[in-house]
Symmetry: C2
Subunit: 137 residues, 2 copies
């Protein structure tokens, strides 16, 4: 086996700007949404770079990603531990939640001869504000 290369990465203005833009979002956003936001703020970052960075943040665990309506959305999460989300279907706002023990997952899987690799769980609804405005409409 070859020795682990220290994988040299460089810090660039784009990385910083993308990361900070994502972190200032309390919603799940798509690459294109974030790209537009950056443009509006006067930053010039290529769309390809936004895609690359979001994927890399997601891979490294610095961002969570979910898929809604066949599009990938990203969010910088405060918690490092395993968690899930309560997402507003209207505005995208999300809250991190922790379900009760998930031990039954592996147990159930074993019963069926499955070996668990991952699981996904997301709750969708309307946040207080969106529910209120929907009612008054």
């Amino acid at each position: 086996m070859t020795a682990e290369e220290p994988k040299k990465t460089r810090s660039t203005a784009q990385k910083a700007v993308i990361r900070s833009a994502l972190e200032s979002e309390k919603r799940f956003v798509s690459a294109q949404q974030l790209h537009r936001t950056l443009e509006d703020q006067g930053h010039t970052v290529g769309l390809a770079t936004v895609y690359r960075q979001l994927n890399s943040l997601s891979d490294s665990g610095h961002a969570d990603s979910i898929t809604i309506a066949e599009k990938q959305l990203f969010r910088a999460c405060a918690q490092d531990e395993h968690h899930h989300h309560l997402v507003c279907e209207n505005c995208g706002k999300a809250v991190e939640v922790e379900p009760p023990s998930e031990d039954w997952i592996t147990t159930t899987a074993r019963v069926h001869g499955f070996e668990v690799t991952r699981h996904m769980f997301e709750i969708f609804g309307l946040c207080a504000e969106c529910a209120a405005s929907a009612q008054s409409r």
Copy 2:
């Protein structure tokens, strides 16, 4: 408000064939996979029609759908009641599972001021066969 039109739909050979093909699958399959299966069986059904029917089955609740690797997969589910799946990431085979009480979902949501509309939960892994063949590789 206008009266509800009885929405007249017609029963066609294609609908029947697509629905029955889906029901005979114990796996989650994509529109393209199902289309190829139908071709192999000698049926001539347009790909667009397969897409249309799968979407409509999914909308009407006669089929469940999940997204793996940016592709939509469908499955005709035996259970009408609320349930979730244990899906093999390799072959798509799926088992219907029922998690323990999901009451905490609405409770937790309420704490955050959310009104729950739906939730999704899927377990991914490798079925016994796929796990075995992966190991021997």
